[in-house]
Symmetry: C2
Subunit: 417 residues, 2 copies
Amino acid sequence: MRVKDYVNRVVSDAEKASLSIATASSSLKNAALEQIAQNLINAKATLMRENEKDIHAAESAGLSMAMIDRLRLTESRIEEMVDGIRQVINLSDPVGEIMEGKLRPNGLQIQKVRVPIGVIAIIYESRPNVTADAASLCLKTGNVTILRGGKESIFSNLAIYRQISSALERVGMDKNVIQVIETADREAVNYLLKADEFVDLVIPRGGEGLIRNVVENSTIPVIKHYKGVCHTYVDEYANLDMARDICLNAKTQRPGTCNAMETMLVHEKVAEKFLPDVHRVMSEAGVELRGCGLSRAILPDIRPATEEDWSEEYLEKILSVKVVSSLEDAINHISSYGSSHSDAIVTELISHAKRFTDEVDSAAVYVNASTRFTDGYEFGMGAEIGISTDKLHARGPMGLNELTSYKYVVYGNGQIR
Amino acid sequence: MRVKDYVNRVVSDAEKASLSIATASSSLKNAALEQIAQNLINAKATLMRENEKDIHAAESAGLSMAMIDRLRLTESRIEEMVDGIRQVINLSDPVGEIMEGKLRPNGLQIQKVRVPIGVIAIIYESRPNVTADAASLCLKTGNVTILRGGKESIFSNLAIYRQISSALERVGMDKNVIQVIETADREAVNYLLKADEFVDLVIPRGGEGLIRNVVENSTIPVIKHYKGVCHTYVDEYANLDMARDICLNAKTQRPGTCNAMETMLVHEKVAEKFLPDVHRVMSEAGVELRGCGLSRAILPDIRPATEEDWSEEYLEKILSVKVVSSLEDAINHISSYGSSHSDAIVTELISHAKRFTDEVDSAAVYVNASTRFTDGYEFGMGAEIGISTDKLHARGPMGLNELTSYKYVVYGNGQIR
């Protein structure tokens, strides 16, 4: 079958399956999720065997250690995946919620009812756990999922998918509720991205290249999860001990995440006192600092930061440091170089906190806390499919509610205009 | 200046203006709106004179009477435009609303705060009133607007825009808060649609060709306002008098609108009784019926409906009629031929109403009321910028709230993970 016909069949099967899952009861959806969890547990050995093939191919292709680590499915990672699914089972189903309701003067009763989005395509790379994570969140919210993983994890993704598919069949659900694009042909993605008649949303998960390709070629709405170049600004009126602890946490607790701090901004009036202290704890934690001229006047042994450093998402133990002369300077720096993800101010002054939270245009803006909290679990959503850096539909952590749309259901008794 | 450089300047000026309008007080925004209203009233004669140039060009180009009518600015249309702006002034400003707030177990206080979207581009054709309508809704919600009207209304749009611009200046607001793309060069739209670094949302308003072009070329999120092929299904258990009145209203009260009925579905068990009655009132109102075979067996003198009729948005006094054998048939017909805009069932049976509202995947689904109610004013939103047939961000009538995004503002006292 030609790739185009194949993709057409997948998307039209997906659309056909969407009514049954949209109106499925929570009990049925939870039963399917529990069956998926059990199947994955039972298939641990198979999953690891198939994953070995991907690891082997990755090693032959000379992929980086970090890439290979992201690819790897260990026993504990499979258990984490299964725990994740069971957490989703325990969340309450948002579908059917009456979000708003009003009685109009003419007697019309208007309800705004939460409904699934419809068909969601997830395009991702490397981490095979996304296959189960994304599918379970979409299933819980009554959406049909089309998964397209990277070719580097194809054996792992298909092995996970076979377990999902047999679980759906076991509980009597349409197997097209979750589908995988099985061909490695890159053309498949292009056809998928033009299928706006059948697919309602595309969520790309991966590096900038992948996301840019999706944005440029998709005629379907996209919610992006771009990079996180997160800042912490240590204000003139900061509690400097608190600032040090927050910065250390934001940089080092998990440097590879998008909500980790990449640039620290320090007010010039406190730089001389603050920088040596923070430099000490960062060095102890193995963090390399790269500084502007003013910070290097205080810490002469750190490497100079280049213009590129200010917009770099290091995702490792590197921190760029800039001394600024005012709150306004800090806000301007964030607006020029930031990625609208998560940014923090440490200050005791209410007017500075207010100005920072008003003017910094990011998904999450913090006062006196670590940027590491931008996360579906930490925000009390129970789970997340990613962190949107877009401003439409969903911004910041995307939980179950963000995987839904709504419709207006209007009851009358003969009203006309 | 080259078109590309010109568009680049417009979008980057727009982005620079976005912080000032995003944080502007409601009083200042309302003062600007009132000044725009006053300027338009004072400039009535000029507006009509400039509009004459467009009308003249349209007549020379041989545009249809309907097109020319849409173009025309009369004294009363200018007054309507001004009334619209004053209604927007009276609406409450959604920006800054705390939509949700929670205290996490670790003491973090998380607020979900309503903020403007940022920079919104409106691409529209013919009706010059969109210039003032769209700009005033965007201004009220703290967004920057870039307007790109059709070349057929260029003189009218620029005349309106000059009044807007001088009003902004008069109240001391950055004039780049509302801008018009002044060149008629079609390339300008293509550059605008790729400016995702500066523009946050594109709203196309116009025919299918315009919308398709925007969807296919934009790397910026788009909210579409496609056509409305709206249905009314007269169930076996309908109150037939009510059904007749609802159908007549849905078809004839304003046939040129997207929420007018285009296809009437009638259950076979009531067709023989219902169709002659509805045919009579429709004929009196000047509506032409086009029927399926079964309906023509009952109404032999109506014209047969072709396959194309079922997906046609007539926007005039034509109605396609189909006899169906069940509720399921009706739902299937709507799902195959509808446009996910507004669809109604007339029934006294609660189970049929429930199944219809659950399974018809449209922005607004009605029980025993006319589809003509899908409208921002009728839904109690006070105003609308259009009716979204998309499922992301906004569905159905888009009022002020739908022109906003949100950010998370998080207060801590030193929390780390």
